[in-house]
């Protein structure tokens, strides 16, 4: 299924995505629609027939809205077509957080995690000794098992 959008419908989709993941201006975090996540949503949905069918349903519902989308209007769409809405939500979250720049906004590195990874220093032996001292002080906490006899093979 090919999902081709008139500019007006694309604008409605962008506004809807802005409502799903809004901006946080105080931290300079953009919303999903403004970031162009709709491109990802449409492209990815097209590759999976079930997702494409759900998106077609969603687009139809958005087109039928009276005026620009509002949180209440989106909630009504969610209630009317919960499965299709879940697809929209999943693809929106995937599109948004697969962007390295958005990962960074919530505290996770923008770089691919390999090969660089993260520098996490190992606790010193002294710190580990101090942390585990109360556990060691209590002594052993496992049970011995009864010894069995006889050939069990």
């Amino acid at each position: 299924m090919t999902l081709i959008l008139e500019p007006s419908l694309r604008a409605v989709l962008d506004l809807s995505l802005d409502l799903l993941i809004p901006a946080n201006p105080a931290r300079d975090i953009p919303s999903a629609g403004a970031l162009g996540v709709a491109d990802f949503v449409l492209r990815t949905a097209q590759a999976a027939p079930a997702d494409a069918a759900h998106m077609a349903q969603i687009l139809q519902a958005l087109q039928a809205l009276d005026g620009p989308p509002t949180p209440d209007a989106l909630r009504a769409v969610e209630q009317a077509m919960p499965e299709a809405f879940q697809t929209l939500l999943r693809l929106t979250y995937m599109g948004y957080y697969s962007r390295p720049d958005m990962r960074e906004k919530v505290g996770v590195a923008s770089w691919p995690v390999h090969p660089k990874g993260y520098d996490v220093p190992r606790e010193s032996s002294a710190l580990m000794d101090a942390l585990t001292a109360p556990v060691r002080a209590r002594g052993r906490i496992y049970r011995d098992a009864v010894v069995m006899t006889g050939d069990l093979s």
């Binding site: 929106t92 919530v106 505290g107 190992r122 052993r140 496992y142 098992a145």
Partner: protein, 539 residues
């Protein structure tokens, strides 16, 4: 096409198949391993990509029904509250496993004698201890010696950093006087024997592009291939054949990379296909001698399926805990509630595992193994900006008891890409497990508050993780009695004397720990028993 007869034919190149092959190297027998998946180079692991998280929902999903790759077999899970997950390729599920490496305990092998439930194993901890040690040496294990929850043993490498998150939780455990210990991990805390140490990338389920994780693709297979073990990839075994005259396994029929059916003859056949794949293969191997599936005279093949059902509780702290830095599942582990205490209202017990936090996309989609996206709208922004960075979580990992109705059968219509009938899993939680999970949820909440969480988020009533079928155990269990078990105390099928099983399907009980160190220790023990009994092996 008929190939030469080999001495030993192993089906499955994952954790157990590789360990067994290693054990038999010294016999100088001709060993062949058939593996349905490919041998992926680590350059193909997705964590080098900018959008690495997307792979978790596509070709690197832990769920074969999501991946749907040519080498995967679908699993009908309509009748299960937990979906089995795996990886099919050289390394098996150790490609995407998380490297958490606890051993089972002495009491785990004696649940009937100690607690009056399930059955005792025909082997015990003391017998397996040297095989645990050997397997740890072959794998490279990091951890802190002296854990009072175990008989004495010492991991070779120092522990991985437990990080800010682990230290915070440890303080909570200490405040309550509960046991905790840095996790043993099949992950290198320093460069070791030509392999590089962990870089704390936190995406262990996407393969380990650093080669630090002890998947058998990095540990056993390089040794095995240089020692001459033959590995044929993209070869999917359809059935094990039996010689009607002798009742012995004569070899297998398999689909090769050319899509054609081949026969491979062998003197000895070993199944290492994991706890779903092995019963599936046996049930698919019907003959006049075994009309209900091979080695299934007891009707136990596929029964007693055990997972480790789990649920999670998260605490929101005042400051970022950087939980995404470090191996995904290995920080600290509490076994305070592991052993039976009759006062708790259930037998056996559970572990409290400190997984680190997951990456943003996975958190937004509901968490690892869960499909329940977090709210949208203003709440979404608040959760991702204020809650997500400040989270620490505990998972309650419960011991499952064997129940005959929890089982693997063959689906009447579903097949893999070669047309081989696919498995169907029927599984529901037992009352004991439910009681354990409820108890664990309360204790995890108590702990998070003691550690300083300002609020606690539980997954809610009955919320076992959906894709938590990481550990597939019990479906061809060991035992002395051919009426009630499939293999004997050293992995040989009661009904077919040259057919062995070495994966987790032979477990009698599940313990409440991740199973792979035990699976591999058992595989080494089976290999050792084969060597010891070689002159009378098929008697």
């Amino acid at each position: 096409m008929t190939d030469d007869t080999v001495d030993v034919l192993i089906v499955g190149a994952g954790a157990s198949g590789a360990a067994l092959a290693w054990s038999l190297l010294e016999t100088r027998m001709r060993i062949l391993c058939l593996e349905q998946g490919p041998h992926l180079p680590d350059s193909q692991f997705p964590s080098r990509r900018d959008d690495y998280e997307l792979a978790r929902y596509a070709e690197f999903s832990c769920d074969p029904n999501v991946r749907g790759l040519q080498q995967d077999y679908p699993i009908n899970v309509d009748d299960s509250c937990i979906a089995p997950v795996n990886f099919n390729g050289v390394g098996g599920s150790t490609i995407n496993f998380l490297g958490h490496w606890p051993r089972m305990k002495p009491s785990d092998f004696r649940t009937r004698s100690l607690d009056g439930v399930a059955a005792d194993w025909p082997v015990d901890y003391a017998t397996l201890a040297p095989f645990y040690d050997q397997n740890d040496r072959n794998t490279g294990v990091s951890g802190l010696p002296g854990n009072p929850a175990y008989p004495d043993y010492a991991p070779e490498l120092p522990p991985l950093p437990i990080g800010k998150l682990g230290q915070t939780l440890a303080a909570g455990f200490n405040a309550l006087g509960w046991h905790w210990w840095p996790s043993d991990a099949a992950i290198l805390s320093r460069d070791h024997e030509g392999r590089s140490k962990c870089v704390n990338a936190g995406t262990c389920d996407l393969g380990c592009a650093a080669g630090a994780k002890g998947g058998t693709n990095f540990t056993y297979w390089p040794m095995l291939q240089s020692a001459g073990v033959e590995l044929r990839t993209q070869c999917r075994v359809r059935e094990v054949r039996v010689d009607p005259a002798t009742g012995l396994a004569s070899g297998v029929l398999y689909y090769g990379p050319d899509g054609q059916l081949h026969e491979q003859k062998a003197e000895l056949v070993v199944l290492a296909c994991n706890g779903i794949g092995t019963p599936r293969l046996l049930l698919n191997s019907k003959s006049q001698l075994f009309p209900d599936g091979l080695a299934n005279r007891s009707d136990q093949v596929g029964r007693n399926l055990m997972f480790h059902p789990l649920t999670g509780v998260s605490g929101v702290f005042d400051a970022p805990l950087e939980g995404h830095k470090g191996p995904m599942a290995c920080s600290i582990l509490s076994q305070e509630f592991y052993e039976t205490d009759p006062g708790r209202g259930f037998v056996r017990g559970y572990g409290l595992h400190s997984g680190r936090s997951t990456t943003p996309m996975t958190y937004a989609l509901g968490g690892y193994g869960i499909d329940r996206p977090i709210p949208w709208g203003a709440a979404h922004r608040e959760i991702m900006d204020e809650v997500y960075p400040n989270l620490a979580s505990l998972t309650v990992v419960a011991e499952d008891l064997p129940e005959a109705h929890n089982r693997v059968t063959l689906d009447p219509t579903l097949t893999d890409s070669d047309g081989i009938p696919a498995p169907k899993v029927s599984y529901r939680l037992g009352d004991n497990t439910r009681a354990m999970l409820a108890h664990g949820t309360d204790r995890a909440t108590e702990l998070l508050l003691a550690a300083g969480a300002r609020r606690v988020l539980a997954k809610g009533e009955d919320a076992v993780w959906w894709r938590a079928g990481w550990h597939q155990l019990g479906t061809c269990r060991m035992g002395p009695d051919p009426e009630t078990s499939v293999v004997n105390g050293w992995g040989r099928c009661h009904d077919v004397k040259n057919l062995f099983i070495v994966d987790g399907s032979v477990f009698v009980t599940a313990g409440a720990v991740n199973p792979t160190s035990t699976i591999q220790a058992l595989a080494l023990y089976v290999g050792d028993s084969i060597k010891t009994n070689i002159s009378t092996l098929f008697d």
